[in-house]
Symmetry: C2
Subunit: 204 residues, 2 copies
Amino acid sequence: MKLYDGGRAPNPRRVQIFLKEKGIEIGEVIQLDLNAHDHRSEAMIAKNPTGTVPFLELDDGTVISETIAICRYFEEMQSEPALFGRNSHERVMVEMWNRRVEFGFMARVAFSFRHLHPGAAVLEDDQNEAWGLKNQKQAVEYMPILNNQLEHNRFIAGDHLSVADITAFVSCQFMKPARIKMPDEMVHLKRWFEEMLERPSTAI
Amino acid sequence: MKLYDGGRAPNPRRVQIFLKEKGIEIGEVIQLDLNAHDHRSEAMIAKNPTGTVPFLELDDGTVISETIAICRYFEEMQSEPALFGRNSHERVMVEMWNRRVEFGFMARVAFSFRHLHPGAAVLEDDQNEAWGLKNQKQAVEYMPILNNQLEHNRFIAGDHLSVADITAFVSCQFMKPARIKMPDEMVHLKRWFEEMLERPSTAI
C-alpha cells in the first residue's frame, strides 16, 4: 500500500492524524510537492484523475482518493478506536457534524487562504479577492455553532473523539495562513482546541 | 418523525430520491419556502443552527441535518437496498465517488447557479460573477471524469446504484438553471442519465 501525501496541507493532515489515532503506520509514503504541481503531473492524474491529495494506492492497484474515503477505508479495515461512531446513532451524528464542519467552516477557511494569501496564487490561478473576503467573514460567523456544541459536549460530535474533531482541528490550525482569528468569546472552542493540541496525534 | 423539506432544490431532491429508492414514506413533511427564507427563520434556526435544508426531526427531538447524514440515518434504519455499498470495498468506493461528485461537480454547478442566475440573487446576497463563471467552466471540465467512469461501469460507483448516482443525477438536472450544457461527446454520461431518468424514483 502506498500513500501519496501532501505535507502540511489540511487534507493530508486529516489523514495523518486519523492514522495516528488508529495507530496505523503506512509502509510507503510518497511526498508530493503541491506548489510544484506534482499531484497534477501526467503520472499522478493517470492514477487519480481528480488531481487531489492525498490518495491511497492499494497493492491490487485500486486507488482511493478523497480524505474521508481514505479514512473510511482504514475504519473498515480496523474498527477500533471507532472514529466514525460506535453505533447507528453515533455514526449519523459523526456524519452530520463532520459535514457541518467541512461545508460551513473548513471550506470557508480554505477559500479564504486560496483567494487571499499571496503564497496561494500558485495553486489558485485567478484569485478572487471578493470571494476570499466573503468566506473569511462566513468562517468567523460559523464559529459560534461549534462553540455552542462544545459547551455541552467534550468533542464535536458528542462524548467521543471522531473524524469530525480531526476536520475541525485541522481547520482551526489552517486559520493562521488564512488570516482568521478565533474571537476571544469562543471559550469552549478554545478549550477543545487546547485539548486537541495535547493529543500526540496532532503534533507536527 | 418530521422532514423539513425544500421542494426542488438539489439537496431536498437527493433525500426525496433516496427515500423513494428505499421505499420509505415519511408521515409528516413540512415544505419550507427557500426564496422566502423560511429555513432561516428564528424557529428553524433554533432547530437547525446551520440553516440548511433539508433536515429531519426525530420524535425524541434529535435533529439530523446534512443531506448525506439524513440518507445515512435511513440506511442505518433499513439496510436494503444498500445505497452506501453492500460490503467494505463498495462502502469505500461509494464514499469516494459521492465525494468526488459533490466537490468536483455538484458544488460547481451550484456555485454557477447561485452566482450567475438572476433568480438566485435572493439566496446569494452578493453574487460574484467571476466566481460563477470559473465554476461553470470547471463543472464542464469535470464531466469527462464521470464519462470515463461510466464507460466501464453501469453506475457511478460500480455495478450497483448508490447514493453517488443520486448526487450526480441531481447535479446533472441542476445544470439547466445553472446554464451548463452537457457536451455531445459525453456519451456514457448521457446513457447513464437517460437510465436514471427512467427510474420511478427520479420522477417529479
